[in-house]
C-alpha cells in the first residue's frame, strides 16, 4: 500500500504542474513568466509541505489516520481546482480587454490562482512521503533506505504524471476530467486507509459538474464574436471564433491561442461565401515578396519557393497566391502544433486549387525543420510564436538568421513578423531582433515596415541584393491591393538605411539572449 500511495503522490503533483498551466492558459495565457511562476509556486508548496509533513510524521501517533486525512484533503482541493479556477477568473477578470493592457493583470491573476488552487493540494501531498518513511521505519526499515526507496517511487510516479498529462489527459480525457480522475484516486486511497471503501461508491458524483459547459470556453472573447470550436493541445489552448456582418454577409474567422483577447494566430475572411484574397493585417504584406524577390534579377525565376516557419492556418498563402498570379510557386509550411493545421482546415479552409502548391509538415520545430529545407528558398517567412507575444528565443538569434541566410537563393528574402509595442530602434524587442537580422544580412539589405492599424512590424531582409526603393513601389505594385499595404510602404512607416546603423542594441545569440525578459517587460510596462 505504501508503494502505491507514494506513486500516487508523485503522480498527482506532476499532474497539477502540467495541467495547472492548461487551466490558467485560457484566462491568463501561458507565457514563459507564468510557466516559471507556476513551477516556483509548486516547488515552494512542496518544500513547505515536506517541512510540515516531517513535523506531523515525527509524532508517530495514528499515522495511518493522518495519511488518510491528508489524502482526503488533497482530493478535496483537486475538486476545487478542477472547477474553481474558471469561476474565479470569470468572476474577477473584466471583459473585452486588449493584449497591450493585460500583462500586469495576468501576472497577478495567475499568481493568485496558483497560490489559491495549486499550492494547497501540493502542500498536503508533500506530507505523504515523510509519513510513509515514518511508517516504514516503524516497521523496521532504516530511515535512509526508506526515504531513498520512497523518493524513487514518488519520482517514478511523477514521470508517469508527465506522460499521462501530455498524452492522455490533454488530448483524450480533457483537463478537468483528468483532474477529477486524480481526485477520485486520492479519495479511494484515503478510504482504503480508513477502511471505509464502501463510501467510494459515491465518488463518481464528483464528476457531474463536468456536464456543465466550462466558462473557459468563452474566456477573453473579443466583442461581437461567437465561438466556433475550442480545444486543448499539448502545446496550447486553441479556439476558432467568428465575426459576422449581417449587412453584407461577410464573415471573418480567427484562430486564437490561449488567452485570445484581440489577437489572432490565423485569420480568414469571406464575403458571400467567397474567400477573400486579403486576410488583412500583416499577412497582406507578404504580397510584396514576389516583387522583392524579382527586383533587379537578371532573369525571372521559373518558380518561387517559399518556406513559412509558423504556418498556422495558412493565412499567408492567399496574399502570396494573389501576388504570384499565374507565376509558379511552391510553399513549404512548418507548424509545430498539428492541431492548428487540422482546426484551420476544418473551419478556415484555403481554396482547393491552392493545395497542389502547398506541403505542410507538423510536429517539428521551425529551426530544426529549416535545416532540412532545400537550399535556394526564395523567401523564408518567420511567423512563429510560442506564446501570445513571445517569439521563440532560438528563432531570433544571429545564428538562426545565419542559417536562414544560407538557405536563401541570391536575392531571396527573409520576412519576419514581429509583434511589439516599440516604434523605434532602441533597447527593446524591435532593436534586438533587428540587430540580429542586420548582423546576418547587412544593414543596407534590411527594411522594417510597420503594419497599418496594428502593433506589428514586418522585417524584410534580402540576401546580397537591395530591396526596391520605396520611391519605386508605386510603379511596382499593381492596382487593387489594400490601401493599408500601401501605407506600410510610406517612408515614415519604414525604418531602413542609416537608422539601422544607429541601432544601439547588440545582436542576440544562442548563448546570450535577453529577448524573453525584453518581451515581458515591454508588454508589462505598457
Amino acid at each position: 500500500m505504501t508503494v502505491w500511495i507514494a506513486l500516487l503522490g508523485g503522480f498527482s503533483v506532476l499532474v497539477i504542474e502540467i495541467l495547472g498551466v492548461h487551466l490558467l492558459a485560457p484566462w491568463f495565457g501561458s507565457s514563459t513568466i507564468i510557466w516559471s511562476q507556476q513551477i516556483a509556486i509548486i516547488l515552494l508548496a512542496m518544500a513547505v509541505g515536506a517541512w510540515f509533513g516531517g513535523n506531523v510524521a515525527r509524532k508517530r501517533a495514528n499515522l495511518h489516520s493522518k495519511l488518510s486525512k491528508v489524502l482526503a484533503v488533497a482530493a478535496a482541493f483537486f475538486i476545487l481546482l478542477a472547477y474553481g479556477v474558471d469561476y474565479f477568473a470569470a468572476k474577477v477578470l473584466p471583459t473585452h480587454l486588449s493584449l497591450d493592457q493585460v500583462a500586469g493583470l495576468f501576472q497577478v491573476g495567475s499568481f493568485a490562482s496558483a497560490i489559491i488552487f495549486f499550492a494547497p493540494p501540493v502542500f498536503f501531498l508533500s506530507w505523504v512521503t515523510p509519513i510513509l518513511v515514518e511508517l516504514r521505519v516503524a516497521d523496521g526499515s532504516s530511515a535512509g533506505q526508506a526515504s531513498g526507496r520512497l523518493g524513487a517511487i514518488a519520482t517514478a510516479g511523477s514521470l508517469a504524471g508527465i506522460y499521462f498529462s501530455t498524452f492522455i489527459a490533454i488530448p483524450i480525457l480533457g483537463v478537468r476530467a483528468s483532474i477529477i480522475a486524480v481526485a477520485i484516486l486520492l479519495a479511494i486511497a484515503s478510504l482504503m486507509l480508513s477502511k471505509r471503501l464502501r463510501l467510494a461508491i459515491g465518488l463518481p458524483l464528483l464528476g457531474l459538474p463536468l456536464l456543465l459547459e466550462s466558462p473557459s470556453l468563452y474566456a477573453n472573447m473579443p466583442p461581437s464574436s461567437t465561438l466556433v470550436e475550442s480545444l486543448h493541445t499539448p502545446y496550447q489552448k486553441l479556439r476558432v471564433i467568428e465575426f459576422v456582418d449581417t449587412n453584407d454577409g461577410s464573415a471573418e474567422r480567427w484562430l486564437q491561442m490561449n488567452e485570445g483577447l484581440d489577437s489572432y494566430q490565423s485569420r480568414w475572411k469571406s464575403t458571400a461565401g467567397e474567400l477573400s484574397q486579403w486576410p488583412g493585417g500583416y499577412y497582406d504584406l507578404f504580397a510584396l515578396l514576389p516583387t522583392y524577390i524579382e527586383y533587379q534579377q537578371a532573369d525571372v525565376k521559373p518558380q518561387h519557393n517559399y518556406c513559412i516557419l509558423g504556418y498556422g492556418g495558412g493565412s499567408a498563402v492567399m496574399p502570396i497566391a494573389t501576388a504570384e498570379q499565374d507565376h509558379p510557386y511552391k510553399v513549404v509550411g512548418i507548424e509545430i502544433d498539428p492541431v492548428v493545421t487540422q482546426l484551420a482546415e476544418k473551419h478556415m479552409p484555403l481554396p482547393q486549387e491552392l493545395s497542389a502548391n502547398i506541403e505542410v509538415y507538423s510536429d517539428v520545430d521551425a529551426r530544426a525543420a529549416l535545416r532540412f529545407c532545400d537550399e535556394e528558398q526564395d523567401a523564408i517567412i518567420v511567423d512563429a510564436y510560442s506564446r501570445q507575444f513571445e517569439v521563440p528565443l532560438h528563432l531570433a538569434t544571429k545564428e538562426f538568421f545565419d542559417e536562414a541566410y544560407g538557405k536563401l537563393a541570391d536575392g531571396g528574402v527573409l520576412c519576419f513578423n514581429l509583434g511589439t509595442t516599440g516604434t523605434e530602434l532602441a533597447d527593446n524587442v524591435l532593436g534586438y531582433v533587428t540587430a540580429s537580422i542586420v548582423a546576418s544580412f547587412g544593414s543596407e539589405y534590411v527594411r522594417l515596415q510597420h503594419v497599418a492599424r496594428s502593433r506589428n512590424w514586418i522585417i524584410f531582409a534580402r540576401k546580397a541584393k537591395q530591396l526596391p526603393p520605396l520611391s519605386d513601389m508605386a510603379s511596382l505594385l499593381p492596382s487593387g491591393w489594400p490601401i493599408e499595404l500601401g501605407a506600410s510602404c510610406l517612408p515614415a512607416e519604414c525604418i531602413e538605411g542609416a537608422a539601422l546603423k544607429l541601432n544601439p542594441t547588440p545582436a542576440l545569440s544562442d548563448d546570450k539572449n535577453s529577448l524573453m525578459a525584453n518581451q515581458f517587460f515591454e508588454w508589462a510596462r505598457d
Partner: protein, 155 residues
C-alpha cells in the same frame, strides 16, 4: 500573431471638400498620392489616417509651420493608434474640446468627441484592470488568512 489596434475612427468628415488630388483608394494610388502630393499637410494627414499610416500623419504635420486648432485634431487621431500615448491624448482631447467650443457644430468637433470617447473607454478599461488586480490581491490575502487560521486550529 497580430496585435490589432481596434480603432477605426474614420468618417467622411475627415476629408476636406477641396482636395487637389483624388482620394486614394488602393495601395498603388496611395503611393502615387504621396509621391505627387500638392495637397495641404492637413489634407495629406486625412488621407494617411484613412489608410492607417499613423506615423506618416505625424511626419506630414511636422512640416506645417502653424497648425490650425482644427487641424491639430489629426495628431490626436494619430495618437489613438499607439496605446502608450492614450493617456496624454485624452488630456489633449479634453483640452482641445474646451478650447474649441466655437466649432461645436462642426464635423471636426464631433470627430474629437469620438476620439475623446474612445480614449475615455480605454481609461475606464484601465481602471477596471486596476480594480481586478486589487481583487486578485485581496482574494489571495483572504485565502491565505483563512488557510492559516484553519490550519493552526486543526493541525
Amino acid at each position: 500573431m497580430l496585435i490589432v489596434v481596434g480603432l477605426m475612427l474614420i468618417s467622411s468628415s475627415l476629408f476636406a471638400q477641396n482636395a487637389s488630388l483624388p482620394i486614394p483608394h488602393d495601395a498603388k494610388s496611395l503611393l502615387e498620392y504621396y509621391a505627387a502630393s500638392t495637397d495641404s499637410p492637413t489634407q495629406q494627414a486625412r488621407v494617411y489616417l484613412s489608410a492607417g499610416a499613423a506615423m506618416q500623419i505625424d511626419s506630414s504635420l511636422e512640416s506645417t509651420a502653424a497648425l490650425s486648432s482644427e487641424d491639430r485634431r489629426y495628431q490626436l487621431l494619430a495618437a489613438c493608434f499607439n496605446p502608450s500615448l492614450h493617456s496624454e491624448a485624452l488630456v489633449d482631447a479634453n483640452d482641445w474640446l474646451a478650447n474649441n467650443q466655437q466649432l461645436a457644430d462642426s464635423a471636426s468637433y464631433a470627430n474629437v468627441v469620438e476620439v475623446r470617447d474612445f480614449l475615455s473607454e480605454k481609461q475606464q478599461q484601465a481602471l477596471g484592470i486596476s480594480d481586478a488586480t486589487t481583487m486578485f490581491v485581496i482574494s489571495l490575502a483572504s485565502f491565505l488568512l483563512v488557510f492559516v487560521v484553519i490550519f493552526k486550529r486543526y493541525v
